[in-house]
């Protein structure tokens, strides 16, 4: 019996040593095999950001309204383009993407007018949206831009869920574009039912105009300052990937020079105009008139039209002046 026991123990010891050796060598071999050059790959999600409404020939592609009562202009515009029920259903999460790019006040015209955002958020809430989210990834420090634009304070007035672009909220998304592959995107812009793009019309020295489609730069994190090298293609890529439910363009104040930052009040013209569109290209194309530009001459618009993202002209338009 004693001998038996000893043998068993020896066997266990031996087996233990053998397996330890296997683990050490096998594990070592595995770790060595890992030690080869491989570009790092971040976890990427695949999401669908086509939140557009289906086309309906009875409604216009674009409504432009000139009125000094911006709240009324928004309400009237929404009515003309199909009514809020066409865009927001009961229980929807609606995400609003204004332009809050710069540390400027509303009067300086570099950011979307908070009065418009308030009106739109109210309409969505009245239509039964379960949550209205607002976010942006500004160029300047986001804490300053949200305060100084006057947009951060909206959450005190209405039930608006303001989400700050903290590092943790970015997720790598495969944008599947011509120049845009995998880029960090702020979560609320794809974790939503409806997406409302609320740009402001401004001068920009590279694209000549920044309005709706360029506004999608503000959903990206990462080194987006490199996109300027292929700005037309990257704008078209973004507009192809992010298809908003509704575009509401702010041309109440237009920064017609020194854009997109501005600074001086003499750079700003008041036009008291709000545009609502379901066609991204049409919205940007129509906005060109505030900067005296010929839409057909702009690279990003041509590129977007050739990708069938919308129409530069011959879109169905209703103007109320």
């Amino acid at each position: 019996m004693n001998d038996d026991k000893l043998k068993r123990r020896e066997f266990i010891k031996l087996a233990g040593k053998a397996s330890l050796l296997t683990v050490v060598f096998g594990g070592g071999g595995y770790l060595t095999s890992r030690n080869v050059y491989k570009p790092p790959e971040k976890a990427t999600v695949i999401v669908d950001c086509d939140k557009s409404v289906s086309l309906d020939p009875q409604y216009p592609d674009l409504v432009s309204i000139k009125s000094e009562d911006y709240g009324e202009a928004v309400a009237m515009g929404v009515e003309l383009i199909g009514g809020i029920s066409r865009f927001v259903s009961r229980g929807d999460i609606v995400t609003i993407k204004p332009n809050i790019g710069w540390d400027r006040t509303a009067e300086q015209g570099a950011n979307t007018n908070p009065v418009l955002i308030e009106a739109v958020a109210r309409l969505c809430l009245d239509a039964g949206a379960s949550k209205v989210v607002l976010s942006d990834v500004p160029c300047n420090d986001f804490r300053r831009t949200f305060i100084r634009s006057g947009i951060g304070a909206l959450s005190k007035k209405i039930d608006l869920d303001i989400i700050y672009p903290e590092q943790r909220r970015f997720v790598n998304v495969d944008l599947g574009g011509e120049v845009l592959g995998k880029w960090p995107v702020l979560r609320p812009f794809f974790e939503t039912d409806k997406l409302i793009n609320m740009p402001v019309v401004k001068h920009h020295n590279l694209t000549k105009i920044t309005a709706g489609m360029k506004n999608w730069y503000g959903v990206l994190g990462g080194p987006r300052n490199r996109l300027h090298q292929e700005i037309d293609a990257s704008i078209a890529d973004l507009a192809n990937f992010f298809r908003p439910t509704l575009i509401i363009v702010d041309a109440t104040r237009v920064l017609f020079r020194n854009g997109p930052v501005g600074g001086s009040l003499s750079d700003v013209e008041t036009h008291h105009t709000v545009m609502l569109a379901t066609d991204q290209v049409a919205a940007d194309s129509y906005s060109c008139r505030f900067l005296n530009l010929e839409p057909a001459s702009l690279g990003f618009l041509k590129m977007a039209e050739s990708r069938r993202l919308g129409k530069i002209k011959d879109y169905k338009l209703i103007e109320k002046i």
């Binding site: 976890a43 540390d103 400027r104 006040t105 509303a106 908070p114 160029c139 300047n140 420090d141 986001f142 804490r143 300053r144 305060i147 100084r148 634009s149 006057g150 951060g152 304070a153 700050y164 903290e166 590092q167 943790r168 920009h204 020295n205 590279l206 080194p223 300052n225 490199r226 300027h228 090298q229 292929e230 700005i231 020079r257 020194n258 997109p260 930052v261 501005g262 600074g263 001086s264 003499s266 750079d267």
Partner: protein, 553 residues
């Protein structure tokens, strides 16, 4: 009944009040440092940023050395000195109560000294020996005299040694940012887990912490290693000698120690009751010889009351106007060494100023509104408040970039952050006026006076995408905050490798419009060294450094 009249019970109660006071001031100190951050100070009206409250500077203002030393060097009387006078007056009555009851670094040192040690030198006889007065305790006076001598000739170095500034930098720029990182990293790791319970936990931590416990934006600081090392060294020294830093090196302790000779409150001994048990020495914080056969060194006493509480024989009392013969009110200084310390301080000045940092060449960028370099160094106390409040994290503590004289003073590091055009927070929080409170008009100059310029931007044309490679870019022009923009574009043609013509827009800097804010350098897509960079050339704080000679009007 006998117990009820036991005076040690009463003193123990007072000692607990002292502990409470220490805890209160330490927590208040940390809380104020914690609030010194952009989003925590700026709950304003829409469209407005609130100026930071001067309460955030409470400890820097109440520290009498802030006012005294900058007063000596810059010959200005800061209103903050009024708060410092409270401590000065209190010390003149009670002695170094500040060290034992208020000072946050003192509290940390006391906590580090007092938990049980396994070292032989921290027990029994050797501890008693170590807690007797030692000659090294005089060092702090010589440090103070050296600093004051240096201040007289025009260089303020109090910030390197003052306990409030050290604790402020250590907690505000090391501990709090590190805690932020720790909480965020933990929550991030949990959120990335494949188990839903961990993901839920991670989300919960974010929900609770973000913007409430942790900052919305993680602060980063240059040279954090050195800040942490200094802090750690001071704390660890306590494990060898009780409150080594407070006893041996602290210039504020020295200053208060000198003042305390006039105090009317102190330790009185009844030597006939003493049985030489040495319990008082076992618990002494200041190393001030509470033991009854020696004269009490009032300049060293922190008024922690430990000796009285430890004395089983009732041989020690704290009272007003104790017998003069039982105490030694003067610090243990020799005239010769005092003079030597002064000479050392005076001699350090020409040595520092003979360094290369003073040959006309100031390469670093100071915050907007900073005084001309010589005056700036007379008033900057290295409290780090400007760096913590800066919304873009642009202001960083210098190591040797600004010379030996400017260690831990603020400079702008453009690749970390830029100077926000409409922001004047650093000048608004500066407790000593080393950075002036600029009106927003002075900062960006839309009307009235010309804008404050902190430097000028220059292109590195060998790195710039349009200049060097014929590639479209203009991000610098996009970011340029002035109106009209200081960066302008030239539409031109360039030739490619194959002789092909490329239409290109080349950026240029308009030297009259550029404020040196460094937004261009920050935003430049060329990684590593940016293709546009800002130097202090043309900064308006020094008229000798304007860049272009112009005709006088």
């Amino acid at each position: 009944m006998a117990e009820k009249h036991d005076p040690t019970l009463k003193i123990k109660r007072i000692r607990n009040i002292r502990r409470l006071s220490q805890l209160f001031f330490l927590l208040l100190f940390i809380f104020l440092l914690y609030l010194t951050e952009f989003s925590f100070t700026s709950f304003g009206k829409p469209g407005e940023i609130n100026p930071p409250s001067q309460w955030l500077n409470l400890f820097f203002n109440i520290d009498p050395l802030t006012g005294v030393v900058t007063g000596i060097s810059a010959w200005v009387l800061l209103s903050t000195l009024l708060l410092g006078l409270i401590v000065i007056a209190g010390t003149a009555f009670f002695g170094r109560f500040f060290c034992g009851w208020v000072c946050p670094l003192g509290t940390l040192n006391q906590a580090m000294s007092s938990f049980k040690s396994e070292r032989k030198s921290r027990k029994g006889k050797r501890l008693i020996e170590s807690n007797k007065y030692h000659r090294y305790q005089a060092w702090k006076y010589y440090i103070l005299f050296g600093i004051i001598a240096l201040a007289i000739v025009g260089s303020v170095q109090i910030g390197l040694f003052d306990p409030i500034m050290i604790a402020g930098r250590s907690i505000g720029m090391v501990i709090i940012p590190a805690l932020n990182t720790a909480v965020n990293d933990l929550a991030m790791t949990l959120s990335d887990s494949s188990y839903s319970i961990f993901r839920f936990l991670g989300a919960a931590i974010f929900k609770i912490s973000s913007g409430i416990v942790t900052y919305l934006k993680q602060p980063h600081f240059h040279g954090i290693f050195w800040l942490a090392l200094i802090f750690l060294s001071i704390l660890v020294a306590n494990r060898i000698f009780t409150r080594f830093w407070c006893r041996g090196l602290c210039p504020l302790g020295a200053f208060l120690g000198i003042l305390s000779r006039y105090s009317i409150f102190g330790l009185q001994k009844e030597p006939e009751k003493c049985n030489d048990c040495n319990l008082c020495l076992m618990h002494c914080q200041g190393g001030d010889d509470p033991h009854s056969d020696l004269p009490h060194r009032r300049a060293e006493c922190h008024l922690c009351l430990n000796c009285k509480a430890a004395c089983a024989e009732n041989a020690l009392f704290f009272r007003f106007q104790p017998y003069f013969k039982q105490y030694n009110p003067k610090p243990d200084l020799t005239t010769r060494r005092t003079i030597l310390a002064g000479i050392a301080g005076l001699a350090a000045f020409p040595v520092i100023r003979s360094g290369d940092k003073f040959v006309n060449e100031v390469t670093f960028i100071r915050p907007p509104g900073a005084l001309i370099e010589e005056d700036f160094l007379k008033q900057c106390i290295r409290c780090g408040q400007c760096m913590k409040i800066c919304p873009t994290n642009a202001l960083q503590p210098a190591l040797l970039e600004t010379g030996w004289e400017g260690i831990f003073s603020p400079l702008l590091m453009a690749r970390i952050g830029y100077c926000e055009h409409y922001c004047t927070l650093c000048g608004e929080i500066c407790p000593t006026g080393a950075i002036l409170k600029l009106k927003s008009d002075e900062k960006f100059g839309q009307t009235g006076p010309p804008p404050v310029k902190i430097g000028t931007a220059f292109f590195d044309k060998g790195r710039c995408l349009p200049w060097a490679f014929g590639t479209t870019c203009i991000v610098c022009e996009e970011w340029c905050p002035t109106s009209p923009k200081a960066i302008w574009l030239e539409d031109t043609e360039t030739v490619g490798r194959e002789g092909n013509i490329i239409n290109i827009r080349l950026p240029h800097v308009d030297i009259d419009k550029c404020t040196g804010c460094a937004a261009c350098e920050y935003a430049c897509p060329v990684s590593g060294k940016a293709a546009i960079y800002v130097t202090s050339a043309g900064e308006t704080r020094d008229p000798d450094r304007s860049l272009i000679l112009r005709k006088r009007k």
